[in-house]
Symmetry: C2
Subunit: 717 residues, 2 copies
């Protein structure tokens, strides 16, 4: 396990080539860099915004067209309608799963665990490729448009990250635009900031929540954060908000088909409940507990099912994956069409002209009170209102105010159970899938259920079931994802109502605490399952009693001398899988001295290019001058999400093998070091906070040459 996973080099390798390059660059370069970074933030914002618009328009049009066709046909025959409905869904889901399995396997799932891993320092193969981006966008359109119990929001985060990374490297690796201009972002470290921007942009686009996007990137995804970056991330999110707003304005004129009326989720409940009494806090707390329990259960069930899928089903190849997704699609269609048929319709309530809500809703429109399989014209089917509908509309209906008693508790319970089951089963099929919207669906259903009881027993006038639905949604997401601040802000931004902030917080506090008692958050669990070794921000408790030496084991350290024979390099690289090696030289008096760390990837570049081979086994004193550098730091740059060269790819003649390499110009001269008996807690902090990949454990020093305190670091420009 963890086969496709390698660490990223977030540390700056201050080798000779790097230092030469730095020396050539003046102070002006710093400003240039700044401008380029802001420009990229702008670009990322625009592109992510456009991608989100594309996905939304496509999904809304497919789904809208699907429902209007079905509604047309069921006027004549319910069976024909059912067949058409199933077939359209099947076609969409099939196209999605086909794209994913044949073309972009890394685009399956939500992508958030992988991006989280990337920003934590672990590279999962293929997650930031161009084909993954394409697969994610079109796969999402198919899977969401096809009515599966999953959302398009998680994939949008991955989409944003892909866009950011691809822009940063100047296009796809295949169609590489090799311009000097893009050389700025060639290290993992630079790309990290871009990917953070992309994540925030994705969330901002998904929920039209710029502040929520920044906080999500900050709280949930990224592992390192600087306040300069924050402003740039925020800028990106705001650009997204502007792009999306502009697109929506343009769509209002009817140019986007079905999109005009639905589209970007923003379940405005600014006309919701005005105030709340203290007595209401109790049912709200209950919502929190339910959310924690159901969320933790969801995590556990999806964990089992994903493990089972991996070990039994998905091993058998792509055909099984395709069949699986198609079966799930047919199941989903059958349930969402069939169950409302079994439900008796209810008579419309006395219409209230001020609320602007019609019953039944006029054909071809969005809204509450769907007339489906009803005998009379002024009746509606409450189960169809939520089940036989796009998810966005269903949520809008569940959140809606001034619709007290629209749903029967029986319908809500049926929906809750069935949709929960569907969401669990759908999780892990080979299509792009987000958990936000299904989570909101599930949560708002039981939230509204609790709300109905409150309306019944508290007998207060201004209680709105929609408000409880919102709290339910927050509680389920909190119980499953265990996100806190950003979820709060996202819920406030999508409901467009600042008043609910303390209530949402209360519910989240409880649901997260309850959920934490059972298991970890869904992203952490999925990351673990996929073999992505995330380093948490806190060291484990056991580390207090361990030392650095104990942690790194007792194996002999594989190291290189300064000047090394090519054949030795090859055999050492073949004999192990380590990615970094200490380089040991000798002082004039013959004592050994650690002069740095050389990376496997750099050694491979040197072996491949061969220009640095020399005949003499003596160091060619590169610092003394004379010799010009034969590499610029760009050659050592690793392409995004590719495995780079492998030792077996390199062909060396027997003459080559007899030559020598002086490693001094290529090594990182000062990796971070820790004394052998430092407690592992402190080692962990160092490793995690600085985002390292290698750390040398050395003997206690024999002398202290100087102390560095704050004063020594206060250098004026």
């Amino acid at each position: 396990d963890g086969g496709g996973v390698e660490s990223l080099d977030y540390e700056v390798i201050e080798n000779f080539a790097y230092r030469e390059e730095q020396a050539l660059r003046g102070k002006l370069y710093v400003s240039y860099l700044l401008v380029v970074k802001w420009f990229f933030a702008l670009l990322i914002g625009i592109c992510t915004g456009l991608a989100a618009v594309l996905i939304n328009i496509a999904v809304e049009n497919f789904a809208g067209w699907k429902f209007s066709v079905t509604f047309d046909i069921i006027q004549k025959s319910y069976i024909a309608g059912f067949v058409v409905y199933v077939l359209i869904n099947l076609a969409l889901v099939f196209s999605s799963v086909y794209i994913i399995t044949q073309f972009a396997p890394a685009a399956a799932g939500s992508g958030i665990p992988e991006i989280k891993g990337y920003l934590n320092g672990v590279d999962t193969h293929g997650i930031l490729l161009f084909r993954t981006l394409v697969g994610k966008i079109f796969g999402s359109i198919g899977s969401v448009g096809g009515g599966l119990a999953l959302g398009k929001e998680g994939p949008l985060v991955h989409t944003g990250a892909c866009i950011a990374s691809l822009l940063g490297q100047g296009g796809s690796t295949k169609y590489h635009i090799n311009s000097r201009w893009f050389q700025v972002f060639r290290s993992d470290r630079d790309r990290r900031d871009l990917v953070t921007c992309g994540c925030a942009a994705g969330v901002a686009a998904a929920f039209r929540a710029p502040v929520g996007g920044v906080l999500f990137a900050l709280e949930e995804v990224t592992s390192w954060w600087r306040s300069q970056l924050m402003w740039r991330v925020f800028f990106t999110s705001a650009v997204v908000a502007v792009v999306v707003r502009a697109a929506m304005g343009w769509c209002k004129s009817g140019k986007c088909g079905h999109f005009g009326s639905g589209g970007f989720i923003i379940w405005d409940i600014s006309d919701g409940q005005e105030d709340y009494s203290f007595a209401e806090l109790f049912p709200m707390a209950i919502i929190g507990v339910i959310g924690g329990l159901l969320g933790a259960l969801f995590n556990q069930l999806t964990l089992y099912i994903t493990t089972w899928r991996r070990n039994h089903l998905h091993k058998k190849g792509n055909r099984v994956k395709i069949i699986e997704a198609c079966v799930v699609s047919i199941l989903t269609s059958a349930i969402s069409f069939g169950l409302p048929l079994l439900r008796k319709c209810s008579p419309c309530p006395d219409s209230d002209p001020t609320s602007g809500i019609e019953c039944p809703r006029p054909p071809g429109m969005y809204g509450n009170y769907v007339n489906f399989f009803c005998s009379k014209d002024n009746e509606y089917n409450d189960l169809a209102t939520i089940f036989f509908n796009t998810q966005d509309d269903a949520i809008r209906n569940l959140f809606s105010a001034k619709t007290i008693n629209e749903y029967s508790s029986q319908s809500l319970l049926t929906f809750l159970v069935m949709f929960y089951a569907l969401a669990v089963v759908t999780f892990g099929t080979a299509v792009p899938a987000g958990q936000f919207v299904p989570g909101i669906m599930i949560g708002s259903t039981y939230g509204r259920l609790v709300g109905m009881f409150v309306v019944k027993y508290y007998r207060k006038l201004n209680i709105e079931e929609g408000t409880y639905a919102l709290l339910g949604a927050a509680s389920f997401l909190g119980g499953s994802m265990r996100i806190t601040v950003s979820l709060c802000v996202i819920m406030v931004e999508i409901s467009n109502n600042l008043k609910f902030l303390p209530l949402i917080m209360l519910v989240l506090l409880i649901s997260k605490a309850v959920g934490d008692a059972f298991n970890e958050g869904i992203y952490e669990e999925q990351a673990q399952l996929r073999g992505i070794p995330l380093l948490e921000s806190r060291p484990k408790y056991e580390m207090r009693n361990m030392t650095a030496k104990e942690a790194c084991g007792s194996g002999r350290v594989v190291s290189f001398p300064r000047v090394v024979k090519v054949s030795d390099v090859v055999s050492i690289l073949r004999s192990n899988k380590h990615n970094g090696f200490p380089v040991i030289d000798h002082t004039r008096s013959g004592e050994p001295l650690v002069i740095g760390l050389v990376l496997r990837s750099h050694l491979l570049v040197i072996l491949q290019s061969k220009v640095d081979f020399q005949h003499s086994p003596l160091p060619s004193d590169s610092r003394g001058g004379g010799r010009s550098i034969r590499h610029d730091s760009g050659e050592f740059a690793k392409p995004v999400s590719s495995k780079g060269i492998c030792i077996d790819d390199i062909n060396l003649s027997s003459d080559d093998l007899e030559m020598y390499i002086d490693l001094a110009p290529f090594l990182n001269p000062s990796p971070y070091i820790v004394p052998e008996d430092m407690s592992l807690t402190k080692v962990y902090n160092l490793f995690r906070q600085l985002g390292l990949r290698h750390l040398f454990v050395v003997p206690r020093p024999s002398r202290v040459l100087g102390l560095i305190t704050r004063k020594d670091l206060l250098i004026e420009d």
Copy 2:
């Protein structure tokens, strides 16, 4: 300079006592700690919320009473009214400056630079004492109630931080509650988190902006951040919001005097401008530029004036400070009363019953259109509306919608110039003073001016001058403080309108960029002036070409042997001012070995208690057992914001001086180390990210005992 400034020990000192204590504590202790931390977050929220309520009620009542008395008197005589007005203001300001100079000198100013320093690792003497808290609260009431050109928001941040720190140590140092319960928060490191919570609580209370509070603490104040902390900080802010809301609800019933109608700033403009055209972006950009210029000028002028004050005025003692504040108060009163007298009144506009705004405003009420020195009854004085008013009401009037053409450009210009001058002069007087509200006043004035031009030349119907005033406020704060994301969110939360987010961002982007071209933000400049050496999150550009050895200079390192004579300790501590010393032992074979770092403060505790003195110059092998620890880690804990013991306070007999101390149990056995030729950039990152105080520069190691990679740190619980 920097005399009163010492670094804080944010590093965990893993000495013998600490490790013993850790060993005694089971895993349950971790849960206990968690509960205590949340409990404290709750407490901090409640207390800060109550403090904010107290300040607001007091200020509103003093100010409200002042204005109603003055309005009553000027019905008969303007001169008598003027005298009363000046005297009330003078009395309030005098009480404030008297409290500050005599009782709590550390409470002067806004306190944000000091708190920022604290969280960056620098302790300014006295900022977190109980007397500072008291001085801050009552001083704020006096200075804001007295009508000076300053605000109560900055001081509230300091108040929150004080409350947090005092709660953390269980009350004031003098009235120390020595309960085991509070031993959790005795290290600087633990208090750091509490103070962060306190800051966020302060902002949340000041602006009723919980999200803004969290982001302010995150972006502007704190230097280290973890996502667990974020949730706790957010909780604190939300508790504040609830407390404040409850208090306001209680006040609505009229129990708080004048507070009922005014009070907590929240300049709701949710009924403001609905939409904006692209053409409006140009004047908005101009607002941004003006904000950047005026903000940078403000920083520069206040820098000059504060330097001058420090070097010439405040040296002469407290009496001068008191006189100065009184002069400023009289000046402010004279201008704010006198200038509106010179202004001709304008006739009331045709009243619009839907807007609910009366002209002139009824006596004893808050609102637009103040009738002051007008000959007719249906006239109002536009300058008095903003000048002869509390700042909160003035801002509300400037932000107000549906009041187009209320102000003449002449009045706004006069007010802008005079208030700007007053704000500059007031800055740095010895009273608690925030810069938020004056900044909003200045900004909204020129914002409204620009808005008037837009209304005039763009001839669009739905343009509101109030919206431009809001953007102006944002631009000035951005140009002066250079805060970004949090300012955006705060502006959105106080205006209660999410729609303006992109506009505020645009304006802030421009004003910050323009301001940055001239100088640093006001908090950084003030911190520098006060000798608070903040370490920025980024290393300076010059550091790339420096090594660790170069930075720490060439002075001989002062170190201790493991077992040291008491007289030597005393003489070494007397001979220098260093705060940390390496301890050197010898191996069996006689080679030197660095065994750790001992802090001056710990040495002083040992010297004072004397229990560890021994007669023999041989190490008493403390690890081997037998000897029990004579200190618990609590004895080494430093009280908050006190200088601790000084070497001159310690009296030792000549017998004592002949004895020995074995330092082994007291030292930090593994301080972080860097090799001598590591580039200073990397050293800086290590020092800054981990919040260190001392760092050993050591020779390059001769061997590598092991490598630590990600795999080694993935330990399962």
